[in-house]
Symmetry: C2
Subunit: 467 residues, 2 copies
């Protein structure tokens, strides 16, 4: 009964061929989707993609087989014989001489993906179909490669995966706008006599939000498993339409016990290099496509990234470099916030490779970051990638209860809202640190795609949550 | 500077010992948390857990080292010499003769985890600390093993991971209550003149929900990658306080192109067996704990599960078996909904192993399931596990546009709300199918834990979203 067992895959044929066991002469059945059709008087060619790999296989069919060739986008079954392509310029070394082509599912004439090149903005309006283009099949296969590489690297290094909750009662870093999770009827929100919302009617009890970070929730599991990580969706409701921000994004947040900032940076460097090496190894066809179509020199950039150590520079030294650079910046260089333009200059021009900037002014950073002895900076590091800017934010965490409480007081956070987080400092506190790495930023670096909307299957940005 | 490099891990010492390279006589530094302390006149014993494995290591210290031993829950650094334990009944073969014990972080006297055995209900109120008990460190390490096993099995079998969105504009199967995602001010929800909610003020545009299933969003990617999966949090706002339901849970949803229900069941069987084999391989200490403390016979049950083929029976035949069983059921056995008590009887008594029930009455199932030729049933399968009931729901998907539209009409769904889902049937439709597997249900089968709240790090259930 199995349908699956009836069919060979294109990937399987190419792999066999690459391994020297040519499948030429094999009788095969393939099933997939028509990308393009060309027809001359007696013979037709259709480019078939069966989803098993980035490459299409060319199917050659005589007029006797098909009066009316299938439209682009149709699903077809092809039976025939494998041959080595006679065309030396063929993109793929194999083709199939069809004995039959059966249309399993035709495509209506208004199929939104035509042969011509579409703009990325248009393709976002057909997010359910854009994966059928070369660009987006390459994007989303690489996303899968990077996703697995994250789990693989961390698990092989002894990290335990802990699922932080999406629905939370704290708003994480206290920074930025949050999305609320509610089961209340918006047409008729129950109120208390004083006009405030009656949260006792809320299914989950109290005011609830979608998490902006899983970090606070994973820190307690450091005291259970030493090295842990959470990996899932995070949410920021910033009403900013930039190419770098989305309301919903995926973040991996490792956290390490008995570790300092140097240990954390070593882990970041190991993880990001493993992700890039996995892309080079399992996404070679996809990266070749991006190198040719999107970012010339991409593959060499990625190879250089894994082969060189990342630079490490303190915030103070970074300011000196920027000041002495002679470069004109929109924001004059001075102690305080770190500008995206500065980040890019450092990674692209000053170092020409990924660079960690460490020991930021404490006013610029979150309350939980470990205070340095100088009283002015915290033990934090951001990793900047050329062309992208910040990809990772890291820090040692403040494990000393008195200092943590003092910093919370300065920033206006109420200790009672963080009682369980503070408990960690009351019961066996320990030096630890961790980081957050956004999958989408890494995807932009690895593919050269310039807009975060084009590396998320169904992007959620201001005004947009279709599909 | 690195703190991490200063310390050996307990796991490393045990692994070395197991490999026959005894670390006896080694000078080591360890860092971890005190689980218990015993002290006699001249010598004390402290059970140290450093998070690297389930097992503690015993630290033996003389009175000259510590006047006042560290309290339970403290973080300590131990320096000393490894010795083979002289106690033949010791749980672990190695111990450390301490030369120094340094308290890195003491534990306040009100440390909520005492030596005595706590009830699981109490421990839920200290979810940030319960991982430090033997039970919950075993639970959550196994959860990590199962999580990675899911990715590993699917990736090795060519599945591409596609991140379905959490925030969505459709309510999935149209079943059950949903959690709303909103950025509107609940104290003052903007309204239209007719009293309806003015969703134009919503950051994400329109009414938005948290996803109940990623299936509809991954189906389009079958036409891109053939075999795909999404794996992330899903949400159901049912106001039911059972041991089997949580508002937020993790689900893996694979979807296969050019596949029928038999292919889907083969994949489910392969995946669930791989998960259990991974638990047996990487969680042996944890499973031994559950076998001794929670569910006697657990390990044998798991071994049997991977060694035998799962049973497969049609719904109609299952009803016959139930009718002929002579068993008294609360709900009399008849065509219609399938009761949890029937599920359990089938898996536990009739078959004594996991069983697929297939070809359900179509009224009982979701609109997208493929209609069988008999006009009465759909090509769906639920997998029942002994002691748990349904763990997986699967089906072939209705790929025929006319039948899908007819079924949507019968169930009151508006085609315009599903325009993009229907597009798949307009542009190259193809036979496909898939399933949803809840991580928590599998966790309950693998650990023997009886309540879903005890297999989720921070459970979200009616009234509860603390931490």
């Amino acid at each position: 009964m199995s349908i699956k067992k009836k069919y060979s895959t294109v990937r399987g044929l190419f792999e066999r061929h690459a391994a020297g066991e040519s499948p030429a002469g094999f009788n095969v059945s393939l099933a997939g989707w028509v990308r393009t059709v060309r027809q001359s008087k007696e013979v037709g060619f259709l480019e078939l993609n069966d989803g098993s790999c980035q490459k299409n296989i060319q199917v050659v069919f005589g007029q006797e087989i098909l009066d009316c060739p299938p439209a682009n986008g149709s699903a077809v079954e092809v039976r025939g014989t494998v041959a080595v392509s006679e065309n030396p310029n063929a993109k793929a070394p194999l083709e199939v001489n069809a004995e039959s082509v059966t249309i399993l599912g035709s495509a209506d004439a208004d199929y939104p993906i035509s042969k011509k090149r579409h703009g990325f903005e248009y393709l976002r309006t057909v997010a359910h179909l854009r994966g059928r283009t070369n660009t987006f099949s390459a994007v989303f296969r690489l996303r899968s490669v990077l996703t697995f590489a994250i789990h693989e690297y961390l698990q092989k290094n002894g990290f335990v995966c802990v699922a932080a909750p999406c629905i939370t009662s704290n708003d994480g870093e206290g920074a930025g706008e949050v999305v609320r999770a509610t089961t209340l009827d918006l047409r008729n929100v129950p109120k208390n006599p004083d006009g405030s919302v009656d949260f006792t009617k809320e299914l989950l009890g109290g005011g609830r939000f979608l998490t902006v970070t899983g970090q606070l929730n994973v820190e307690p599991f450091c005291a259970v498993f030493r090295d842990v990580y959470t990996f899932g969706p995070c949410f920021r409701a910033e009403n900013s339409n930039t190419a770098r921000h989305a309301v919903e994004f995926w973040q991996v947040e490792p956290e390490m016990a008995f570790a300092d900032l140097e240990d954390v940076m070593d882990c970041i460097e190991g993880l990001t290099k493993h992700m890039i090496m996995s892309a080079l190894k399992y996404g070679a066809d996809e990266l070749a496509f991006f190198d040719a179509q999107i970012e010339p020199g991409l593959v060499r950039k990625l190879e250089n990234t894994v082969n060189e150590p990342y630079a490490r520079v303190t915030y103070a030294d970074a300011l000196d470099i920027l000041k002495k650079s002679g470069e004109k910046f929109i924001m004059p260089v001075r102690w305080g916030g770190f500008q995206t333009e500065w980040e890019k200059y450092l990674a692209e021009k000053a170092f020409g490779r990924p660079v960690f900037v460490t020991d930021y002014p404490r006013e610029e950073k979150a309350f939980y970051m470990r205070q340095n002895d100088d009283g002015a900076t915290v033990s934090a590091a951001d990793l900047m990638f050329p062309g992208i800017g910040e990809v990772v934010g890291a820090s040692a965490r403040e494990e000393r209860l008195d200092r943590l409480l003092a910093r919370m007081g300065e920033t206006g956070l109420r200790p009672e809202d963080y009682w369980w987080y503070l408990d960690l400092r009351r019961y066996g506190t320990f030096p630890h640190g961790g980081f957050g790495l956004g999958v989408e930023r890494m995807m932009m670096f690895v593919t050269g795609m310039g807009n975060i909307r084009d590396v998320i299957p169904y992007p959620r940005t201001p005004g947009h949550a279709e599909f």
